[in-house]
């Protein structure tokens, strides 16, 4: 197992490098001159030149990249062009918000998706199966932010069960945290749970026809045990293989859903950075998100290895 982890971590290094090159060169393509942005029309030519020098913008691009990367690996992602706050600080401050939203919605999506998928697979063509399939088809067509709006209208504005906006940190009050992330997470998790339900269903239908399921039943193990332990473990293998992709989608979706609930997470930061063409902030955001995705990939790879002995290096 250690070997698997080491292998995967090593494989991720080039990916992170390429992403950093990509983000750096893409953001260097930004049309506006940051010096102009900061000083506006007002500054004199000398002021412009001085600032340019101080920001290292007079250096060739590869030098700037090397400098940026050197700092980035030490956790310094530069300084925002506008608020002069450290990008690392700004991102780290919002990270728990977006992260808890993504994680909670992933949990909901997995639980709902697996339950619906299994229920549908147990009796193909039954009412439960048709309902689950219909629900999954619908769920993938509903925009998460719209679903969020509707949830707000019903459960926050109408029934007043949950707050309509805002986010409470887990460290402040776990129960308020739960209340504040429930609606956004449900909104966010809907389409992912639909996708997972479809995958679980088709995988489960296949697994249930396998000999080892019949053999386990022939051995006198109970139906529920055979389904939940013997069948589900195998059915989850293809699902887990694409789970990190689903979670990546959730992370992106969180950026949008945050706006519905006025949650001050990475999404708000990113939208502000685009508006202001805040290059260091955008670079930092992309890099942090990729790091997150990579971490998720690593975790799902390990789970995949646990579920599927054939995938382990021997």
């Amino acid at each position: 197992m250690l070997r698997l982890v080491a292998q995967r971590v090593l494989a991720l290094v080039p990916l992170l490098l390429i992403v950093s090159v990509l983000t750096f060169s893409f953001t260097s393509l930004l049309p506006s001159d940051p010096v102009d942005l900061i000083l506006g029309e007002s500054g004199t030519q000398e002021q412009h030149d001085m600032l340019r020098k101080r920001m290292g913008l007079d250096q060739p691009v590869q030098v700037r990249y090397a400098a940026w990367l050197g700092k980035a690996v030490r956790g310094d992602l530069g300084t925002s062009f506008f608020s002069s706050v450290s990008v690392t600080d700004a991102v780290l401050q919002r990270l728990p918000v977006t992260l808890s939203l993504t994680a909670f919605s992933a949990l909901i999506a997995i639980v709902v998706g697996v339950a619906a998928g299994v229920a549908a697979a147990l009796k193909p063509q039954s009412l439960a199966d048709r309902l689950a399939t219909l629900g999954a088809t619908f769920g993938q067509a509903v925009p998460n932010f719209w679903f969020g709006l509707i949830l707000v209208a019903i459960f926050a504005v109408g029934l007043r069960w949950f707050p309509a906006t805002g986010f409470v940190r887990f460290s402040e009050s776990p129960s308020d945290w739960l209340r504040s992330v429930t609606l956004p997470s449900i909104a966010l998790g809907l389409s992912a749970s639909a996708a997972i339900a479809r995958q679980v269903r088709s995988a489960m239908v296949g697994v249930l026809q396998q000999d080892y399921i019949r053999a386990a039943r022939a051995q006198g193990l109970s139906r529920s045990r055979v389904i939940l332990r013997h069948a589900l473990t195998n059915a989850m293998v293809p699902v887990v293989a694409v789970l990190s992709f689903q979670i990546t989608v959730l992370l992106g979706g969180a950026l949008v859903v945050e706006q519905v609930f006025s949650i001050n997470g990475l999404g708000t930061l990113a939208i502000g950075a685009v508006r202001q063409q805040d290059i260091p902030m955008l670079q930092g955001l992309v890099l942090v998100m990729v790091a997150l995705v990579v971490a998720v990939q690593l975790i799902t790879d390990i789970i995949y290895g646990l579920l599927n002995p054939k995938a382990r290096p021997s």
Binding site: L30, A141, V152, Q210, A215, R225, T248, V256, V294, P309
Partner: protein, 620 residues
Amino acid sequence: MLIVAFAATVLGVLFLLAVLADWVSPYDPLQQDLMSALQWPSSAHWLGTDDLGRDVLSRLIYGCRIAVIATAEATAIALVIGVPIGLFIGYRGGWWDWIVMRVVEALVSIPGIMVAIVIIAILGPGLHRAMIALGILFSTSFLRLTRGVVLAEREEVYVRSARVVGASETRILLRHIFPNIAPPLIVQTTLTVGAVLLAEAGLSFIGLGIQPPQASWGTMLNTAAAFMDLNWFLAIPPGVAIILTVLSVNLLGDVLRDSIGRGIAAAAPPPASAPRVAPLLARAPSDSPQSSRSDEMLRIEALDIVIAMPGATEIPVITDVSLAIAKGETLGLVGESGSGKTLTGLAILGLLGPVLRMTHGSIRLNGRAIHDLDQKALEAVRGSEVAMVFQDPTTSLNPAFTVGSQIAEVLRIKNGLSAEDARRRTVQLIDRVGIPRAAERAQAYPHELSGGMAQRIAIARALSCNPSLLIADEPTTALDVTVQQEILDLFRDLQDEFGMAMMFVTHDLAVAADVCNRIAVMYAGEVVETAEVDALFADPRHPYTRGLLSALPQGSSRNPPLPIIPGSVPRPGTWPTGCRFQNRCDRRVEACEARIPLVGAERMVRCVHYQNARLKAVLS
């Protein structure tokens, strides 16, 4: 078909509205009227008005136009970027391929919306720029798809042969590869259209896509979000429009994918429609007399099993099967595939599945009827009193767990052993079935074991609770010829040691002769002959048994039998009335068309030529 009609209608209306927006929309979508802002639906404004008093219906209709333009643009850009690059790197390979694929990998590891946000940061917001961003984002899926197809096709012989003839590279690419890419590309395009619609709405919603005052569904939702507490209805029309459109596109995509998939599968013969049922003749209960023995472990009496599909006539698959096995005895159930041997075994375990149903007869184990037990009681019988070893050991062991844990699980659940005891007993069992270094092998996963080894494990698991009956379903068929004999020897040894009754299902008379005391020959869902092994081999009576015997190669009995009997077992539902073997029988007479009972005592035969004793009795 209903789905296609629904989807096509929705998309048709969408297109019409997009084209005719200038004529059909009741108001100018940009015309403000602050006096009548945030109105609920009325006869003047069917869908109400927004915060600036603009007519929601008109904005929705113009939103159709934006949706069509936006998806067309982004999808076209994605195709134009993705397909040529995919073609190029797929064909060139090498460094080009490596670099582009690493870039693609990096791109897909960033959340899509973030990629779009960065591109919009470079290009600026707005309809066309946002669509370029989405086009670039979604081009990766086309790129990977195209590259995959090219790589597969590149290896195809005809590409190479075209190169030999001297066709230019471009011509090879276009002439040979394009037709193969088209179907998956069409499916991918529909999938992309749905995703683009959702992404565009999301971008416009957060203010980075289409800019106000232009009316798009996403910007309308942006407005709605701000006034949710005053007029929640504002969110409904654009939301429903998005959902209906995406749903229709996705449904069409599903249908397309399925039909393209079917196009590939069409080469395989279509499943035959359910054939007419041969009428079953009423039979006397005494049709198959079986002498009762005192040390009997299993007794099956007049078993009938049918295929019962909802809304279809029941098709019999097993009729009037009666068998008995004594303690320490091995009964061979022999016949070609399709004769119903395995089903008989599964019926004993109550594992017939949802489609098959037992309609008549009884199954008694140790004198106790087990065919009408409820699920729980049946689970208690399985494993503890009857166990089964399946044909293919590599598929009958769960690939996700170690082999040891699969045996230990049974011991813990069925026998209530502690984890530690179960582990110890597991190692003993593995050792008993002849696997060296048992403790170590218990930690192995099924895929790490050879077929013979895995079958020993399966046998160990079946024996773990000391069942009084062991059903072995073709346990050596999937194995190498060299290990077949070892497994057969193991079965014989184990039976001597455990003293259980054994039902040995096989298509191979030679195998049956090796391990069995008695043999029941099955054909088309019924028993046609039973006899002690020696008697059967010395004097086979039923023409089918003779056929099977003469198919055995002389001398070496280990090889698969030669197909001497022409034809194959008729499928259930196509059985002839009377003797079911008559189509393949060389001794057929007119009387064979009547229903033939199984007669005899020590040995029983179901054939007109051996009915004499009974006939005489009836006639006199």
